[in-house]
């Protein structure tokens, strides 16, 4: 098996910063996002949403709405197939998804979709919503994790029995599943611990906060053939999920990807698309559905609130010898929180032989959670990385020395099972120590903290095609929505293989009928896995080019190599050509121009299920200043250090590091869902759901460490998700350094920090 990770290769384009190919469209307003697309005769859809956090639907009467001038169709869950409760594939339960798209029998959260209207204008559709009569029987609701797990809690799903418990309980519960991960013997290992610290952490429900609200247009023909224009992280996912929910053939649906205005995991499932398809089928007209910001907050993918208990035992050198962790994550209204990922992550950066991790997936009357950048990992890191910092302080050991002493490296067995191959945690920690920020002086009321983040990164399925144009320029066709500059990375990789200028490569994100299946843009997988497909497809083009040149030269194809965009004869072939006085390289443009005569168009294709995504590690270093009068925490200086394996386009790698840090800072300091006593979300807008603005942040320094991933031809490992993992604990550790207080509850907002300051000073 050849494992060339490019560590000895001299690159021409990899590692450079060309202007992204879709850039001009995006700075001129020409790029079309989900809501930017219209069709003639198009109708507009609006959703009726539940005013209750939990209620039985007794009756829905849509007749008055239907009678309104301009209203063309009204649908409820009666208009979509009822799926078996067990209809699932992997972690996705399609019965739950169907019931989330349109509530059936019960509404499970405030904002849960109940009915949809298609009308000639949004205004009329909104008026029609008020005319739909729904009779509810309100039920007691539960929002809090502890309350949801209590024996007398209101039950969301009467059929639900806790999975992963032996024997299966005979009583319904809000605990959807219990999972366990263990190694060694924790109780025995505790005997070797000189210090044991056990702490409880609590984090709030937060939202991805993608700036573009979910949007789509659907057009269904009389023969059932459907086209959907949608902004999502995966148009193949939109197609597969819509077909499954509506029980259509996948070939009946074509999805055309629009530009996506942010996702962060929040656009990895369907909300509007199946509804728009059904409305279009009913009316015979195209239907557009666009969420309001309020709907995005109330009804799409928050990331879960969590309760985490961590107990670490360490010897006097600060080496952790045993750990026990209990993670409780809210799933929202349907099972499927990222607790499994959280449990697999929480101890992953620690070299540790004895541990027990328990995870609980708990349903509550909130929207179904969706993936959010390294799903489940940030709260887990908050707990583990704060406790390890506390151990360092208790033992009076330099926190970085102690952290390094506990770090995993090549050959360490990850807590989630396998042994790590080449990973860059030690290298990032060493880069941290070497950074001037680490030893810079601090001001009054300022403190410094750091923390480690880990994320698995995903491989999964990708397909790409590289087509050589008649003049030697090339088109790269792939199918992963470009959420942060990945077209440029694809073009760089193709240019590198083909040996042509990066601007002579045109990257295209194609629809579901134009390119082979691509899994969703997520899991930090696109530059790794889709990049791998682009490299393979480019290599196929190169191979064909070499063969064509060999035919023209009448030499053996094995005597032709590819160099700087030219076929070059070597060995016996070169000797033959030299004799004929024809030994000159054949440029790609010449091969492309002659393709008709030498065998027809030259294209390369690759489809793969990528193995060996390299795990990502990041270390963040932050200085904060705490205002003791208000509790406000100011980010004074911020440095991110991350192993990228190989940075294909360093500017966009830095962008991921900075953007992830900013999201993590928001999660740490301000963001939270606030509910009132009736289970109504009180802050479903950007004014009250307070995401960081430019003034909240300093410049975010970046250091890219490159420990090549042996499984990628250039050494790439995913970079997108891990930067959201370290900020919360790094900031918590910095706050402790500044004011001597350990924050264990999110957000670390002015009122929460002030309350701790008051408590610490003996106040009420």
């Amino acid at each position: 098996m050849s494992e060339s990770n490019g560590s000895d290769r001299k690159f021409k384009w990899v590692g450079t910063r060309p202007i992204r190919h879709d850039g001009v469209d995006k700075v001129t307003g020409r790029a079309n996002y989900g809501a930017d697309f219209d069709l003639p005769g198009m109708l507009h859809a609006c959703m009726l949403r539940s005013p209750h956090a939990h209620a039985r639907i007794l009756r829905i009467d849509t007749s008055k709405a239907l009678a309104l001038e301009g209203v063309k169709a009204v649908i409820t869950s009666d208009d979509i197939p009822e799926l078996a409760l067990t209809d699932a594939s992997g972690p996705t339960n399609f019965s739950d998804l169907s019931r989330n798209v349109l509530a059936r029998d019960k509404v499970l959260y405030h904002g849960h979709a109940v009915a949809a209207v298609a009308a000639t204008s949004t205004r009329i559709a909104q008026e029609a919503l008020a005319l739909i009569e729904v009779e509810y029987e309100p039920l007691p609701h539960v929002l809090d994790l502890r309350a949801a797990m209590a024996p007398d809690a209101p039950i969301l799903h009467d059929h639900m029995r806790t999975k992963g418990v032996d024997p299966t309980p005979d009583k319904a519960s809000n605990i959807a599943a219990k999972m366990e991960l263990s190694r060694g013997d924790v109780d025995q290992a505790r005997a070797y611990a000189d210090i044991i610290i056990e702490r409880e952490f609590e984090t709030a429900t937060v939202h991805q906060g993608d700036i573009e609200p979910h949007a789509c247009v659907a057009q269904t023909n009389e023969d059932g053939q459907t086209t959907v224009w949608a902004s999502s992280q995966g148009h193949f996912m939109i197609r597969a999920y819509s077909a499954r929910l509506l029980q259509l053939d996948i070939s009946q649906i074509k999805v055309i990807p629009m530009e996506i205005g942010g996702g962060f995991g929040g656009k990895t499932t369907v909300y509007l698309e199946p509804i728009a398809i059904v409305l279009s089928r009913k009316t015979g007209r195209p239907v557009k559905a666009v969420m309001t910001r309020d709907e995005v907050f109330r009804a799409t993918g928050p990331a879960p609130a969590t309760l985490i208990n961590v107990k670490f035992g360490a010897n006097r050198d600060g080496k952790v010898v045993a750990a026990k962790c209990k993670l409780v994550y809210e799933a929202g209204a349907f099972p499927g929180s990222p607790v499994t990922a959280g449990a697999m992550c929480i101890l992953a950066p620690f070299d540790l032989d004895h541990f027990l991790i328990e995870g609980y997936d708990v349903v509550v009357n909130k929207p179904k959670t969706a993936a959010y950048r390294a799903p489940g990992a940030p709260p887990a890191a908050f707990a583990a990385e704060t406790v390890i910092d506390e151990i360092a302080h208790e033992l009076e050991i330099d926190p970085l020395d102690l952290r390094r002493n506990n770090a995993v490296s090549k050959g360490s067995q990850a807590a989630y099972g396998p042994k790590f191959s080449d990973i860059g945690l030690l290298e990032t920690l060493d880069a941290l120590r070497a950074h001037p920020h680490y030893s810079a002086p601090l001001g009054e009321n300022q403190g410094r903290g750091f923390a480690v983040g880990f994320w698995f990164n995903a491989g999964m399925q990708s397909s790409a095609e590289v087509k050589l144009n008649e003049d030697g320029t090339a088109i790269v066709i792939e199918g992963c929505p470009d959420i942060g500059g990945s077209r440029a990375s694809m073009a760089i990789m193709a240019a590198e293989e083909l040996g042509i200028d990066v601007y002579k490569v045109r990257p295209v994100v194609a629809d579901t009928e134009t390119v082979g299946i691509n899994d969703t843009t997520g899991g930090s997988r696109v530059t790794f896995a889709t990049g791998m497909a682009v490299i393979e497809a480019s290599q196929e083009v190169v191979k064909q080019c070499c063969q064509r040149a060999a035919s023209v030269w009448d030499i053996d194809p094995t005597d032709v190599i590819w160099q700087d965009g030219c076929a070059v004869a070597t060995g016996d072939g070169a000797k033959k050509l030299e004799k004929e006085d024809k030994l000159v390289p054949m440029p790609i443009a010449e091969i492309a121009a002659g393709a008709a005569r030498t065998g027809g168009p030259i294209t390369g294709k690759a489809s793969l299920n990528a193995r060996g995504a390299g795990p990502a590690f990041a270390v963040h270093l932050v200085d904060v200043e705490v205002d003791r009068d208000t509790g406000k925490v100011e980010i004074v200086r911020y440095t991110t250090i991350q192993d990228a394996g190989r940075a294909i386009h360093p500017a966009y790698v830095e962008g991921q590091m900075q953007g992830g840090a900013a999201q993590g800072i928001g999660w740490a300091l301000n963001e939270e869902y606030v509910y009132d006593a009736d289970g109504v979300l009180a802050n479903p807008g950007f004014l009250d759901y307070r995401m960081p603005v430019a003034l909240d942040l300093p410049m975010i320094d970046t250091v890219i460490v490159e420990v090549p991933n042996p499984r990628h031809p250039y050494g790439v490992r995913g970079v997108g998700e891990v930067p959201i993992v370290p900020p919360i604990p790094a900031i918590a550790n910095a706050i402790h350094d500044a004011i001597g207080i350990r924050m264990r509850k999110l957000p670390m907002s002015p009122p929460n920090v002030l309350a701790e300051l008051v408590r610490a000073s003996g106040g009420a």
Partner: protein
């Protein structure tokens, strides 16, 4: 439904007429009636700045202006920022600095930054951050946006048109 009102205005230097309902916002009319979808909508409550446009040179959220208020005004949108085949220096610097990821907030940031430089041709980092705090970006952490605006200011040397 009420009859539509006729509005005469100037958009990106061009005389423009449109019909609108009294409840329609400027961003709604730009997008839905005039098909100028470069102006984005992220919230329609004036919190995200994606719909930033200039109204008689003043930076406003298009979603908070009624379309009928556009009568006899001059409006600048993202579609009017480049001239011919030449990008505005801010657009060019955004590209060079990789100051956009998903790009949905980019038109709003560019319009807001243009207004800033017209108002203050040589801003400090703090002034850039303060001015751009009405625009939300969830992808970049603002670092490269701020750098691009500072670089553009320098390259324009006070010529802020």
């Amino acid at each position: 439904m009420a009859r539509k009102t006729h509005v005469q205005t100037t958009i990106n230097g061009e005389q423009t007429e449109f019909l609108c309902h009294p409840h329609q916002s400027l961003s709604e009319v730009l997008r839905d009636e005039l098909h100028m979808t470069g102006t984005k909508e992220g919230c329609t409550t004036g919190d995200c700045g994606a719909c930033s446009v200039l109204l008689d040179g003043r930076l406003v959220c298009g979603c908070l202006v009624l379309a009928i208020e556009a009568e006899d005004t001059e409006i600048t949108t993202i579609e009017g920022m480049a001239s011919g085949e030449k990008l505005h220096p801010l657009q060019q610097k955004f590209l060079e600095h990789a100051a956009l990821q998903c790009g949905i907030c980019t038109p709003g940031f560019l319009i807001a930054a243009k207004a800033l430089l017209e108002h203050n041709p040589d801003p400090t980092e703090h002034e850039v951050r303060y001015w751009l705090s009405g625009n939300l970006c969830r992808c970049t952490g603002y670092d490269k946006i701020v750098a691009a605006v500072l670089d553009a200011a320098q390259s324009m040397g006070g010529d802020t048109r």
